[in-house]
Amino acid sequence: MADDEVTSPDVDDAGETATVATIEVPEVSAPEAAESQVPAMTDANAALLARVTAELGEAILESGQAGVDLIIRVTPESWARAAEVCRHKLGFDYLCFISGIDWLPTPSVGGEDAESDTSAPVQPKTMTFGVAGSEGRFQVFARVSSTRVARVGLTLKVDIKESKPVVGSWCGTYPGADWHERECWEMYGFVFDGHPSLRHLYLPHEFEGFPLRKDFPLLAREVKPWPGLVNVEGMPGEPDEEEAST
């Protein structure tokens, strides 16, 4: 089912699995949405997408649905404006969170030996992107919702260039963005243009590196692939296993 079908507002409270195709659909020029979204977009989300599209228009690159939330990907230039639209035009008065994603595959822990160990997850080696796609490795995503309307949430994503990880700040629109952006800056190294003071939030100020990037090693796992895999040492006085076998 295509995502760009939009229902008229008087039938927006149908169930999640309602068949959108049977409803008379007004022609709204939604941007090319992801065709292969497995779950059909709910009526409420389709209506919401139409409202967002009316405000942001060309700025929306892709849209999709995860769980019950609508997810849109906007252009980097319109990231700050998207926040203003969300808060002042669409009634999303509540900032849920802002954070980042690094789509680089998770490095396999402890080399190839650990592959058969089910206690440590084995992630795919290829880079794939989630709902609403991505252009490159880095993305910032944020979720806003409303305290006045029940069960509504909008997740926004924006691509970040690896060479120049800069994006507009949301601080002017949602004051709560301050700490979220500071966290995102120190964990991923994304710079939020317009943020009053990007300084460390959790980590000591002399900390180097960006811990949540996938290429930042989790040192504990480098030293020992998995703490559950204990090499049992013999009691003092007992011969080691290797010595005993030889």
């Binding site: 769980g67 954070s99 992630q123 795919p124 709560g176 811990p211």
Partner: protein, 387 residues
Amino acid sequence: MTSFEVDPKLYSPLADSQLNVELDTGDMILNIGPQHPATHGTLRLVVRLDGERVIKADPVIGYMHRGYEKLTEYRTYPQITTLVNRIDWLSSFANEVPFIGAAEKLMNIEATPRALYIRTILTEMARISTFLLFLGEMGLQVGAITPAFFGFRDREYTLNLIESATGGRFHPNYNRIGGLKEDLPWGWVAECRNTMKKMLDSCDEFEDLVMGNPIFQARTRGIGIIPAELGASYGVSGSNLRASGVDWDLRRDGEPLLPYNEIEWKTFTHQDGDSFARYWVRLQETRESARMILQLLEQLPAGPIMAKVPRIIKVPEGEIYVNAENPLGEMGYYIISKGATGPFRVKIRTASFSNVSILPWLLQGIYVPDVITVLASLYFILGDIDR
């Protein structure tokens, strides 16, 4: 590290000699914390004072940062419940529920009705035990010792119940994908019913002891007011926002995760938005939670506690955000899965982080003794801020 410029005059050896000539009226920088009983962990507040009045406050967090978002990428789903237990350690059980709920939704597994009911009961019990600590603690911060004893006494009853059901007083680790670790022990339901009836009485006790007290009112009324609109844009949630008059409760307004719609209950809001309102709302919610548990116990369905689940938990590719109304506010997990036994990325949205981010604004212009009551009335857990 602070961004304040320190007046070198303050630290000069001549400062003492100047004191006798004229009083220095320059600003003073005061460190509150990192260890202060009102902070439930290690929060440091750097406040710049003009006399007794706060000009600027800067919370310094991160003393308890444990990097859970990174650690989740190296663990399997069942292993992560151990981690999320330790985010907000006063209501660990409530932390597990949205995480497990998110994994279940991605896997298209539904927990059995009995498991869902027991989850609801224990979530509400976590709420009661968290709030009882608050109700006592808040009294302590304004100089009343008795509420603390009452709070700790009653909290012990609920912790005993949680322990007898789950095996852990603070870190239950009781949820499994598809259900629960094991069923309730024999006699638990009757014991729980008695305790909840006792809890209704102790809420009345708190109301008598604290709410009408003129000293308590003088210390809390009109102090630390959070405007509803501003609070929401900071991401303040839960009882803190309801105390500002916003009738928004994820148990009712969020995506259904637990069977709250099958029982009768209501939300409480207060129009004032001050420290007193936050106390009042939490007290009412404690009582309401006890009532909810009594209803849930009446309706507790029989049946299995585990749904059919594959032996090796592999979560299909996809992403989802699941949130729940934790005692402290909205707690949510944004899980991105790539079809492995562990998640690719978990964004943990905690309530206290956003609740506390309003502090620089909230503390401006209030007096030092009120800083403590405002901190206590916001009610945050440092593990929930730092993750």
